[in-house]
């Protein structure tokens, strides 16, 4: 049961449907936990490590040679802003996971600054997730996770790890950086799964 606040009317939008508790943002806020790491494409690699330790690794040139696609997606940050119709270019996880033999059910995404976030592997398949390297037609800026970030737009945006350098496939779920600090293990914005217990 909500508490009614006197004199509050709000700024209503009836033309867009947002997940509960979200509001529209026109800019592109930056949220991160520390200094912006300098990640160079010359030394960047992306590594998928299976649950039995098999490694599948791409350097930048190999990664750029993979088939990429344009993505248009709405993104939802747990701090309550949403941004609609953002456009990206990236490599689908279906491409990257093709040829990876695994029985894992979960993934720990890892970033160059030590950041981690956990997701079900199924949420990275079937055209739901990418490693993105362009935003709005330009190379992805460092502040927004460049040169490459995970893009999983159907989950809250902290799952879309910036500066992503790899995925560890896991048989059982294990918590990443924010998940250990009280944020939800799955993070579906439409079910408003912001924090543990939601």
């Amino acid at each position: 049961m909500n508490t009614i606040s006197r004199h509050f009317t709000g700024r209503r939008r009836t033309d867009v449907k947002l997940p509960p508790g979200q509001h529209l943002e026109r800019g592109f806020p930056v949220l991160q936990t520390g200094a912006t790491p300098k990640v160079r494409t010359e030394t960047w690699t992306f590594t998928i490590t299976t649950e039995i330790g098999e490694r599948h690794r791409w350097d930048w040139d190999q990664f750029m040679a993979l088939p990429a696609e344009e993505i248009t997606a709405d993104i939802h940050c747990v701090t309550s802003w949403s941004k609609l119709g953002t456009s990206w270019r990236g490599v689908s996880l279906d491409v990257l996971l093709d040829g990876v033999t695994t029985e894992a059910a979960y993934v720990m995404a890892k970033s160059s600054d030590g950041y981690t976030t956990n997701l079900p592997l199924a949420d990275l398949r079937d055209g739901q997730a990418w490693v993105a390297f362009e935003y709005d037609g330009r190379p992805l800026r460092t502040q927004h996770g460049g040169p490459a970030r995970l893009l999983v737009p159907h989950l809250y945006f902290w799952k879309s790890a910036k500066w992503v350098i790899g995925l560890d496939l896991m048989r059982t779920d294990s918590r990443g950086f924010w998940e250990k600090l009280g944020y939800h293990d799955y993070g579906d914005p439409w079910r408003e799964q912001r924090y543990q217990g939601d």
Binding site: T33, G34, A35
Partner: protein, 281 residues
């Protein structure tokens, strides 16, 4: 142990919606207002954490935002300082229309990364042999080496980024902590300084030093300026003192300050940041 359990609950415990009632309002600047709230059931917080506020109109329309907590930790009460944004939806209500007695929904505390609590004071010299609980193993994790240096606390605020840092300063004051605290506080002009008189009092009564930077208009005879390497060199604790560093403010300020700190030799891992506001793209 008890301490760790309490902070664990504040980081990942249940966060039901509570009712917050406005008890008092304080205008801090022309655009920033502090709301002192009664919130029965509020579990307290760790300095640096925030709260989610949900406003509901009479017809059921809702809007939700996060606000940093300004007060030192207390049960059942908290203070939020809200900067009014002209194009905002929630801040014009909180920092404008809200009156004592008004109510809204509140949940938290949120966030377990951008937090600092005063370290426990070194234990008193042990009492002579109390043979009680002889089998109790020593709580090794709480034993600090004798004469351990206190890690200084370095705070860098841009605009209303001072709010979560003020919670740290107030918690430091409440604990009468001896940890040296340095604050570099960048605002547009002297009239935009939030908590000006309290900061000035605390810099006399506690080991706090404050450096102000005015980006648009300074005092007479003082040129305006932004954060730069010289300010970091003269006003920040040096890297070899291993300070805990917290930077909060608009994205441009945080980006500039963290880059300067890293260039000055501070470990990236010692710097925690919190940003607000869009960056364009």
């Amino acid at each position: 142990m008890a301490r760790a359990a309490v902070s664990g609950r504040l980081i990942s415990g249940p966060r039901p919606w509570l009712v917050g009632t406005v008890k008092a309002l304080t205008d801090e600047t022309a655009t920033a207002r502090t709301l002192a709230l009664d919130a029965p059931g509020w579990p307290g917080h760790l300095p640096g954490q925030h709260a989610d506020v949900r406003l509901t109109a009479e017809d059921g329309y809702t809007a939700q935002r996060s606000y940093s907590i300004a007060s030192a930790p207390m049960a059942d009460r908290l203070e939020l300082t809200v900067q009014r944004l002209d194009d905002g939806e929630v801040s014009p209500y909180l920092a404008g229309f809200a009156e004592p007695g008004d109510q809204f929904d509140l949940r938290g505390p949120i966030g377990g990364w951008f937090t600092w609590s005063p370290p426990p004071e070194p234990a008193e010299p042990p009492e002579p042999a109390e043979p009680a609980e002889p089998s109790e193993p020593a709580a090794t994790e709480s034993v600090e080496p004798a004469g351990a240096e206190l890690k200084p606390l370095m705070l860098l605020a841009g605009g209303s980024g001072i709010v979560p840092l003020m919670s740290m300063i107030r918690a430091h004051g409440a604990a009468q902590s001896k940890v040296p605290v340095g604050l570099i506080y960048s605002v547009r002009s002297p009239s935009d300084v939030i908590y000006a008189s309290e900061l000035s009092e605390r810099s006399v009564s506690s080991p706090l030093s404050v450096t102000y930077l005015y980006t648009r208009a300074a005092h007479r005879g003082v040129p305006p300026g932004r954060i730069n390497a010289a300010v970091i060199a003269t006003s920040a604790f040096p890297p070899d003192s291993s300070p805990d560093i917290f930077v909060c403010g608009p994205s441009g300020f945080v980006e500039a300050a963290t880059s300067l700190l890293v260039e000055a030799g501070h470990e990236e891992g010692s710097i925690k940041t919190e940003r607000f506001g869009p960056t364009g793209t």
